[in-house]
Symmetry: C2
């Protein structure tokens, strides 16, 4: 029971496959195929359960209606929500999505980009790892629609959508300061990417503006693939000996850090927010039912995802235009819960 092709329909009716193609593409009128034949073609197509072969279509037209997505890890709810939104918005326009998790590894992302090129995807949405500048540059040269999300390379002229990380970290740190915290630490991840760098900058600026000292020893950079133990060690170093607290608040730059951090803090017998206050980027479920629900920097993930697809679709819809490069920065909002005290 093999699949029905255009020719099958054509043979079935004794007409040419050209005609069938016209009719099924809604161009019956345009190519003045008689209403009678149009109707028959549609009937037979339904009867034989015709499903167009998108591969053949893709070869002929050069369009696959597919978007390639590279993110760090689809199992991470941050990217899960983003991916979901991208999938959904793409589907609205008839596009499918090939998902790739790069693990922030430029070797992997390089391979994945090559794979997506071979698959002839119509556009790319990428959250690029560090040291992937050359990959991105060569994609830009290929003139296939591309948008970077979450982070970008300032030196590369390319569409990107991200949030105002500086502002977000500034607001979060300020919130801690306003509540009387003075010894504020920053636990972050060494991605060497603008998004993380700006978070640290925003944190520092808030301290400076409040005339608080910036103590580099209170800034802990962990590798991307950190686990509980790494975070626990960082926190132990920060907290110091009991009775001689070096730190009274921590800003976590990702929820993965924050969740592990809170686990460690609790395991050490410290109470949030009394012994130590906590703010974190991202807004996972975990923070809602936490020992002390966590105050967070909430990112507009839906908007990032939706906009990314729209930028791609827009370029695909208007291929001739030379497009203005879209550099979109969205605002975050601070959701205040109980983890910073009052």
């Amino acid at each position: 029971m093999k699949k029905t092709s255009l020719s099958d329909i054509a043979k079935h009716l004794g007409v040419s496959k050209t005609l069938v193609s016209f009719v099924l593409n809604g161009k019956g009128k345009e190519f003045r195929i008689s209403d009678e034949i149009c109707k028959k073609v549609l009937e037979v197509a339904k009867e034989l359960n015709y499903q167009p072969n998108r591969i053949a279509q893709g070869l002929r037209t050069g369009k696959t209606n597919t978007i390639g997505l590279i993110i760090a890890d689809i199992a991470n709810p941050f990217f899960g929500i983003l991916g979901r939104e991208i999938e959904q918005e793409a589907a609205r326009f008839g596009y499918r999505v090939i998902f790739c998790s790069s693990d922030e590894n430029p070797e992997k992302s390089k391979q994945q980009i090559a794979m997506l090129q071979q698959s002839q995807v119509d556009g790319y949405i990428i959250s690029p790892p560090k040291k992937s500048e050359d990959q991105i540059r060569s994609l830009v040269k290929s003139h296939i629609p591309l948008v970077l999300i979450d982070r970008y390379f300032p030196e590369i002229e390319c569409n990107h959508i991200s949030v105002d990380n500086f502002d977000a970290a500034y607001k979060a740190t300020n919130h801690l300061i306003a509540l009387g915290h003075k010894k504020i630490a920053n636990i972050t991840v060494n991605l060497d990417l603008v998004n993380m760098i700006e978070r640290t900058e925003g944190y520092k600026k808030a301290l400076l503006d409040a005339s608080l000292p910036v103590d580099e020893s209170l800034i802990k950079e962990l590798p991307f693939s950190h686990d509980n133990k790494d975070v626990a060690r960082a926190i132990k170093e920060l907290v110091g000996k009991p009775g001689n607290k070096k730190v009274d608040a921590i800003l976590f730059a990702t929820s993965k850090l924050g969740i592990n951090g809170i686990e460690s803090i609790t395991a050490m017998g410290l109470k949030i927010p009394d012994d130590i206050a906590v703010v974190s980027f991202d807004n996972p479920d975990a923070y809602k039912i936490c020992i002390s629900p966590v105050t967070v920097v909430n990112q507009p993930l839906k908007e990032i995802g939706k906009t990314a697809v729209q930028v791609i679709i827009n370029e695909l819809k208007h291929p001739d235009n030379i497009h203005k490069i879209q550099k979109i920065t969205l605002k975050t909002d601070l959701i205040i819960r109980k983890s910073c005290g009052s």
Copy 2:
């Protein structure tokens, strides 16, 4: 700067594209192409940065090296982790994955299956929503490798991989009983699918085996797309008036229910586990840093994902064999934390 094709390489060297194809597919020896020419072809391919057009390849060979994946929601960490594992295992064998979130909606899954058929995917991994029996049946008839995950339809002969949900719920309920809880509620979701039904059955059996009454009013079935409020209402009904507790423990059949439930319980001023004990299926991060870390039924997501891909690949590798249908049931483990008391 358009892409390099086989013919470009052929022209560049003044040979036929047949030859180039042979060499690039590693069949140089087999078709006794001289070593000298082989070397040149490989050189030129690299020089021109040849990337095979997988679409053209797919059209000719009928193989796209693509697996279609349909799950309920990639933003749900349960499916996120599963998806991640599937992506990774598929990549090991040179397969890409098209992700689709069905929202447990059979209309959506129907469309997505049609889309995947048109995309000529080589295999399907599907977590089927209720009322999608006909879709699955017709896929089975198409003889394209297919494996169902998380749930399945007992009446359809088809590969599937899932966990022993009856046993899991039985163990979880038994754990509550062993700790002295007697009035145990079950909050679940009305998917009308074996996986959920078995969970409720396991729960009931544990009560029966302990000579505890099965009170249907303690079993709450919520719609799939529930929110905080739905769960809060269910819990209010279960708890009843203060001082007259109808329930002293709850088994949540999914983590989405559990997270919302714990939020509500806490909002009502009740303490876990003292006022009410809690066990839940699935093991999200949230449960680790919860008010009272949650005892859970942990599913072997990695194994489910990995095995699913292997079943598909195995059928693809041996297309001639009539394959034994694989019905795989994996064991869960109960991770005991603090939410049930002691």
